[in-house]
């Protein structure tokens, strides 16, 4: 493994090489500002009401992480398979008094499909990203991206749109056909970065001690390998030699973050493989990830911060029984683990029952009375079956929003160009807005 100084040396060499070939490693945000000054794009700025916290990236650049007035960009695999992931995040935002929108007016980034089947192209991917960015912009809520692949893809698309005028014009033309314009967010922010900077407020609310819990971290590839220069690093986490997330919050909570030999490997998701070539996914997940986590690190739980990684590491274990290797190591997202440590309901909020590897043993070690919680959840299911209204983390959307991306006091591009005045803040859906 390279030391931090070696990494910097590689970066310098790569920069020199790429200068010679015309390929740049520059802070794309600077060029974005120049385009904004020339009126070629709109930039969705982080404002004081977003309550930003400064972090540092691999390249030593400052990255602002907004903590309030956020637009949740959900992850397609997460919501279909592991819904406790977004519900834990929104619960945590309610607990910490943050406002947000969780809308039906978004598509996924569509990059799972692109990386799996290639039935798309860069202009389409950039247009999808820009459509979602524009929707966040017009609601005046800053996008917070749940998925590692969306996060990586959106950074690639931001770079493409900034550096390639031809793509920019093609995308702008498409957006104008739907009454939208080209807006790029000042930062592309992953939810785990939000969790990381919220550590002080999270710690103040911790109910269950996790000292003695051994956690192994799987670092999602698309968080830090797609656009390495923008991932956040922190000297307090592996001396700044590995990404700060999600290890940082685990250390802050008091867990032991244990190393294992294959930490750098991917999870085995493979995009195409998890659906149509699962022999590969489950073999890789079991042999290269779960087995080292258990046998080398004696882990109580595997923690990661991406949809595909949670899915692959969790769902691939049961079949290990066929080879006498049913480790059944619980696999949770960082924010589910945080929610449990803060006393969230394990089933109603953290939704641990969607996971293939049971988290009940882990919860026992954390001092959580999951038996009682499970009984409550069974009661709740019976009530729902009998027609009871579901408990929600934010007010339900009205029927009109099944059809229309309605106005919520939005910022329209022409108005934004004409004036630098702040728009009237719209009302958020999050409980913290009340």
């Amino acid at each position: 493994m390279l030391s931090a100084s070696e990494i910097r040396k590689v970066v310098e060499e790569r920069t020199l090489h790429q200068k010679g070939t015309g390929k740049k490693v520059v802070d794309v945000r600077e060029e974005m500002e120049r385009l904004e000054d020339r009126g070629e794009i709109l930039v969705h700025h982080i404002r004081p009401e977003n309550r930003p916290v400064a972090t540092t990236t691999l390249f030593g650049w400052t990255k602002q992480i907004p903590t309030d007035r956020l637009w949740h960009h959900k992850s397609c695999g997460q919501c279909g398979n592991i819904p406790g992931y977004p519900s834990s995040l929104l619960w945590l935002m309610n607990e910490t008094g943050r406002t947000y929108l969780n809308e039906p007016h978004q598509t996924s980034c569509t990059a799972w499909n692109y990386h799996g089947t290639a039935t798309s192209n860069p202009v389409a991917l950039a247009a999808v990203a820009a459509r979602n960015f524009h929707r966040a912009y017009e609601t005046d809520h800053f996008p917070l991206i749940h998925c590692g692949t969306s996060y990586g893809d959106y950074k690639e698309m931001r770079k493409l749109l900034v550096e390639n005028a031809a793509v920019r014009e093609k995308v702008r033309a498409v957006l104008r056909k739907m009454g939208r314009d080209l807006v790029l967010p000042e930062e592309i922010v992953h939810y785990s970065e939000w969790v990381h900077v919220m550590a002080p407020e999270i710690l103040a609310r911790q109910q269950h001690p996790v000292r003695g819990i051994i956690a192994t971290v799987h670092e999602p590839c698309h968080y830090y390998k797609m656009v390495p220069e923008d991932a956040i690093y922190d000297d307090r986490v592996y001396a700044g030699q590995r990404p700060a997330v999600p290890s940082g919050i685990l250390l802050e909570l008091g867990a032991t973050v244990a190393d294992y030999s294959t930490w750098y490997d991917c999870c085995g998701f493979g995009f195409r493989h998890i659906l149509s070539e699962r022999e590969f996914s489950r073999s890789f997940a079991n042999l290269r990830k779960i087995r080292p986590m258990v046998e080398e690190a004696h882990a109580d739980v595997a923690i990661t911060s991406d949809t595909g990684c949670v899915t692959t590491l969790d769902k691939s274990q049961w079949i290990g029984k066929a080879h006498g290797a049913a480790y059944m190591l619980p696999v949770l997202s960082d924010v589910q683990f945080v929610a449990l440590a803060l006393g969230a309901h394990p089933y109603k909020v953290a939704q641990v029952h969607w996971h293939a590897a049971s988290a009940e043993g882990l919860m026992t070690k954390m001092g959580i009375d999951w038996n009682r919680a499970k009984g409550e959840f069974q009661e709740y299911l019976r009530a729902l079956k009998d027609g009871a209204r579901p408990e929600l983390l934010h007010p339900a959307h009205g029927e009109i929003e099944q059809f229309f991306a309605i106005n919520k006091g939005q910022v329209l591009p022409d108005e934004a160009r004409a004036s630098t005045l702040n728009p009237t803040p719209p009302r958020s859906e999050g409980r913290g807005a009340d």
Partner: protein, 278 residues
């Protein structure tokens, strides 16, 4: 014009006679290409090298092998990112053609090779370019590889999410075990009730990852129409594409009806919600 004239470099080194009657089996043991295949291979080769991403992604190779030591696919398949990069870098239409048949689909797109490459090559990216070309040209091997993706492509094209909870069927995901797929058996309620127990209303659906508003899904489809994605898919699976067009036409009608139904609520609206008609 003879096929040979289209084939760059190695292929062009064939004589007319060799091209007219190639050996039944080449030295590599590869199946002999038909003339049609050679023509398509030559076209793909030209398009590959003409793609603007080619110059940006393929910079050179030190042969260090760092990319391959970290590659998950290299552990389980006859696949190596170093080989793929070198195939991309060499001027050989038939070698590229061979790689398109199977090897390109082994890549996990994890970008580990990119992160490790001292030369700054975008190996995962150039493999995606190869994949795009295999889709655009509707290669038979690509059709076979992507055949299981009909349902997820339908979801993706119509609502923009890739999976839904009702896709996780016990018969298909038997290897995931009873807790991943049999929540109704474990908890004695239907999947619909299980979804109702998620405390976010937009997730209380079994048909997609989350409820997507009709306007949003139509905007997405407009993107696919305008950027050539629909045409790509038509080349790969015309029947699926026609079905998608039908679904979207119905949604457009539904959207128009809703605009009348909600006309009073929409009267004061500005921006895309006021102007987008599907």
């Amino acid at each position: 014009m003879s096929v040979v004239a289209h084939l760059p470099r190695r292929a062009q080194s064939l004589t007319e006679e060799e091209a007219e009657s190639p050996p039944a089996m080449e030295l590599t043991g590869r199946h002999r290409m038909s003339e049609d295949e050679r023509t398509v291979a030559a076209t793909i080769f030209d398009e590959f090298h003409a793609d603007p991403r080619y110059r940006e992604f393929v910079l050179g190779c030190l042969n260090c092998g760092e990319c391959t030591t970290g590659c998950p696919a290299a552990r389980f398949y006859d696949f190596s990112p170093r080989e793929m990069l070198q195939i991309a870098a060499t001027g050989d239409a038939t070698t590229l053609w061979d790689a398109l048949q199977e090897k390109i689909w082994a890549c996990c797109q994890c970008y580990t090779c990119n992160m490790r490459c001292r030369f700054g090559n975008d190996i995962a990216g150039i493999i995606s370019v190869m994949r795009e070309l295999s889709v655009i040209h509707g290669l038979e091997s690509t059709r076979r590889t992507l055949a299981p993706f009909g349902r997820s492509l339908t979801l993706l094209m119509t609502v923009g999410t890739q999976v839904s909870s009702d896709m996780i069927q016990p018969d298909f995901f038997r290897d995931w075990g009873p807790f991943a797929t049999g929540s109704d058996q474990v908890w004695q309620v239907t999947p619909e009730v299980m979804r109702k127990a998620i405390p976010l209303d937009v997730l209380q659906t079994t048909r997609s990852s989350w409820e997507v508003s009709v306007q949003t899904s139509l905007e997405l489809f407009r993107i696919y129409e305008e950027t050539g994605v629909l045409d790509m898919l038509r080349g790969l699976d015309p029947d699926l594409t026609e079905m998608l067009v039908d679904i979207v036409e119905e949604r457009r009608e539904e959207f128009a009806e809703a605009r009348e139904r909600f006309s009073s609520e929409l009267a004061g609206q500005r921006g895309p919600v006021a102007t987008f008609t599907g």
